[in-house]
């Protein structure tokens, strides 16, 4: 595949914590405008993978290439400035700031003028449907709203690649469809996304491709229909007894 | 500087190291339980030393005799501090936690000054006095007894944490608060207990030090800083490791004074702190 069509190229990435291998020789690619879902049982190494790609943890082996350029040894803020944004599984809103100020912090990556940043922030809030809560304090938001806030903050950095760690985790049933719709809409607008998600029906529904992890290794990589029927995937989630 | 002076210094550093270890153990225990640094730890020590002094001055009790009383007194004080202050800032932002014990430290130091003045006091004619000579090395008897006493207290603490049910509950709370709660351990009681024991350690150390050390309101400050270094060296929360760490601090202090300059010995120790936390933030031995 020619280099230009690959946004993200993860090659043989390995991460060990003492005796525990969190990620073992993981390789996969994300193309422009693709929505790739990452699935795997707890402890499979999904969040570690995100940490490695975004620079929060150093990889022991392997490379991460963004549009052909290596970002393997870079700090998180350097990677962010190269166009990779992420949300966190354990949400991290800036609680002492208002909603719009939260997003402005993201917007400031592209401008130094506060008024401009505010405008961009309001636009991002609009996209995620939180514009009416702009002046509220971040700490009064519900989990679903916080997820949107974190998303808006990430969007304000105008990323080329967006990593979402657990879209529906902790969100009440009623709010899930709207959130999923939002992710679909972003993808429809041309965003490139990698999404970690536990909710099977959600992830299978929105992904163009699924990468399945188990015990730190990639066990399947392909369209949702194929991966969903892959015996290794079934075994990882449900156990040997369920493999057809 | 001769080998003799060096060995003499190392021995005295080692002896003091055990006392530092005892002080640091209390600090480490508290931090391990609730991630709060007791910035008033030095003042607890100062309080114990003054209690011992007054027991001697007013009741004619030798430090070794009043030691159990001092330990009990400090344990109660630790409980008081927990229920009166710490309990209210458990969930508070770190700034509030730092300033709470910081404020307590200032308050206690000022109270001692206001009550007893800035004069240096000394227990004169303790039960244990004089020097002995071991293989050509001179060791002050009070220092030796203090050191051995500290080591014993440390051993007692270690046995308590590792071998008793309450001690295990303490360890559990320290390692994973939520899991401990799920197992039915009353974490509030554990916290209070932690403070009581931490203060008791300092109480013992203070009583022992009072045998030969000058006592004055600011005396806790230096010990506290040395204790921070020892806790950092051993790993915040790793109580057994503070034994080794305390000894290292004691030896570095002496070596710093001998090899560089007596006035700068503390500067050397603090530089050690900076080196340790930067090079190995989890301490030489890590957590538990």
């Amino acid at each position: 595949m020619p280099v230009a069509t690959m946004l993200l190229d993860v090659r043989g990435v390995t991460k060990r914590y003492g005796g525990l291998v969190a990620n073992s020789n993981i390789s996969f690619q994300v193309g422009y405008g693709e929505l790739v879902g990452i699935i795997g049982p707890n402890g499979a190494g999904k969040s570690t993978l995100f940490d490695l790609v975004t620079g929060f943890q150093p990889a022991d082996k392997g490379q991460v290439l963004l549009e052909g350029e290596s970002v393997t040894r870079l700090r998180p803020d350097e990677i962010s400035r190269r166009g990779v944004a992420r949300t966190f599984q354990k949400l991290k809103p800036f609680t002492q700031m208002t909603v719009v100020e939260n997003v402005m912090v993201g917007a400031f990556q592209k401008t130094t003028v506060p008024a401009r940043a505010r405008r961009e922030a309001m636009e991002a809030l609009d996209r995620v449907g939180l514009a009416d809560k702009a002046e509220a304090h971040a700490r009064v938001l519900s989990t679903g709203q916080r997820k949107r806030l974190e998303l808006a903050r990430a969007l304000a950095t105008q990323p080329r690649l967006l990593l979402l760690d657990e879209v529906t985790g902790g969100v009440d049933q009623r709010s899930i469809p709207a959130l999923v719709d939002l992710v679909r809409r972003l993808h429809g607008e041309g965003a490139s996304l990698i999404v970690i998600e536990h909710n099977m029906s959600v992830i299978m529904g929105i992904s163009q491709r699924i990468v399945a992890l188990n015990l730190g290794e990639v066990i399947a990589d392909g369209p949702p229909a194929v991966v969903g029927r892959d015996p290794r995937v079934v075994e990882a989630y449900l156990g040997q007894a369920y493999v057809a | 500087m001769t080998a003799e002076v060096l060995v003499q210094g190392l021995v005295s550093g080692l002896l003091m190291g055990f006392v530092y270890a005892l002080i640091a153990a209390g600090l480490s225990l508290i931090f391990g339980l609730m991630e709060i640094v007791n910035f008033a730890h030095g003042e607890f020590l100062m309080g114990a030393m003054f209690a011992t002094f007054w027991a001697w001055a007013l009741l004619k009790l030798d430090p070794l005799v009043s030691l159990p009383l001092t330990v009990l007194l400090l344990a109660l004080f630790g409980l008081l501090v927990y229920h009166g202050l710490i309990r209210w800032i458990l969930g508070a932002p770190m700034l509030a936690q730092i300033f709470a014990t910081f404020g307590l430290a200032i308050f206690l130091r000022a109270a001692a000054q206001a009550l007893w003045g800035a004069d240096f006091r000394l227990v004169k004619g303790p039960l244990v006095d004089g020097r002995i000579s071991l293989a050509g090395i001179f060791i002050g008897l009070p220092q030796l007894v203090a050191s051995v006493g500290a080591l014993c207290a440390f051993g007692l603490l270690y046995w308590f944490i590792r071998k008793t049910e309450t001690g295990l509950a303490l360890q559990a709370t320290s390692q994973d608060r939520q899991a401990a709660m799920l197992m039915g351990i009353d974490t509030q009681r554990m916290f209070a207990l932690g403070w009581a024991i931490g203060a008791a350690c300092v109480g013992a150390a203070g009583a022992l030090l009072a045998m030969f050390f000058y006592i004055f309101p600011d005396v806790g400050a230096t010990f506290a800083l040395l204790a921070y270094v020892a806790v950092a060296l051993g790993g915040f929360g790793n109580v057994p490791a503070t034994l080794l760490a305390g000894v290292i601090v004691g030896i570095v202090e002496v070596l710093g004074g001998l090899l560089i300059a007596p006035a700068l010995k503390y500067a050397v120790v603090f530089s050690l702190y900076l080196v340790v936390v930067l090079w190995r933030p989890q301490g030489l031995l890590g957590r538990f």
Binding site: P76, G106 | A114, A263, F270
Partner: protein, 325 residues
């Protein structure tokens, strides 16, 4: 508590009136003592404001800030004493020295978080204090006398006849601190500092070079504090490690900011306006033991503030306003 983006007219009028009152103060109160008290208030408000930049806005709690105060005081005094340099130039050089020291300290120490960082700043403060006590060329424990220059002149920054000019210079420094803080507060830097304070990882994930911004806040804070130190030297005309480097000074600076309201623009001034006269009063009332009673009250106040309202008086005021508004 987010800073107000634009000051409403009410606030401008209030601030303006206050400024006029402060400008007129020495014309009304001509005795040296009241002027001295207010000068001290200005000085500590300014030092607290400088500390606030690093600790309040950026969340890095430094408990050894006296290092920069002393750096300013000693640099300008030594330059004046040995090289006959004007204290104004000395002030600027002092700020530069403080910035250099701050970057040196910051580089290793900023890798630490929370309690480790606070302890490290205490350690640095103690190390510097000890070094200065033993540095004889710089006066050692005996301290340094600032060479007396007569007649009074602005160029020499020494006035012996009256405190009036000291008053206006101190006020000027305070206004400078206010202005800088306000500028930072509403700029991108202000947002970035606050983000770092709230959550360093989230901040980094948004592209903020965390270490670099901490260093910047530190540099700004150190420079302002050093200016205060140089002023102090010229005002008191004697400095020694015990007066410009002790942990007690670092503590007082923190307390002023925390009591008034950490991370707010007006907090430091409010804190100073309460604590300095309080200190004066205890000193006068209790005489020799005054120092201890001072600290007793300070300690109690710090504990109370941290338990009841870590946001200080400003936070209390906000709560009150929200309830009635």
């Amino acid at each position: 508590m987010p800073p107000v983006a634009r000051w409403p007219v009410v606030r401008w009028t209030g601030a303006g009136t206050l400024l006029l009152l402060l400008l007129a103060f020495p014309l009304v109160f001509t005795q040296p003592h009241p002027r001295h008290v207010v000068i001290t208030i200005f000085l500590f408000a300014m030092l607290a404001q400088a500390w606030n930049l690093l600790a309040g806005y950026c969340g890095q709690i430094s408990l050894g800030h006296a290092v920069f105060f002393g750096a300013g005081a000693y640099t300008s005094t030594l330059l004046g004493k040995y090289f006959d340099l004007s204290p104004w130039i000395g002030m600027v050089v002092g700020a530069v020295v403080a910035v250099a020291v701050s970057q040196l300290i910051g580089y290793p120490v900023f890798r630490l978080r929370g309690h480790y960082f606070a302890i490290a700043t205490i350690a640095v403060g103690e190390i510097v204090n000890t070094l200065m006590i033993n540095w004889d060329w710089a006066g050692g424990a005996r301290g340094l006398f600032v060479p007396i220059k007569r007649p009074d002149s602005l160029a020499n920054l020494q006035f012996h006849q009256s405190k009036q000019n000291y008053y206006y210079i101190a006020l000027g420094l305070l206004l400078l601190a206010f202005w800088i803080t306000r500028k930072v507060e509403v700029s991108r830097m202000g947002y970035y500092l606050r983000a770092i304070r709230e959550d360093q990882d989230a901040a980094a994930s948004l592209g903020i070079p965390v270490a670099a911004y901490k260093q910047r806040a530190m540099a700004l804070s150190a420079a302002l504090t050093a200016l205060g130190g140089s002023f102090y030297a010229q005002y008191i005309l004697f400095i020694d490690p015990d007066s410009v480097f002790p942990t007690a000074l670092s503590i007082l600076i923190c307390l002023v900011a925390v009591l008034g309201g950490i991370g707010t623009l007006w907090g430091p001034l409010i804190g100073a306006a309460i604590l300095i006269p309080l200190g004066e009063w205890t000193r006068i009332y209790f005489g020799g033991t005054g120092k201890a009673v001072d600290l007793l009250i300070y300690g109690a106040l710090i504990m109370l503030v941290s338990v009841i309202q870590p946001g200080g008086i400003m936070a209390l005021a906000q709560r009150g306003r929200r309830r009635t508004g």
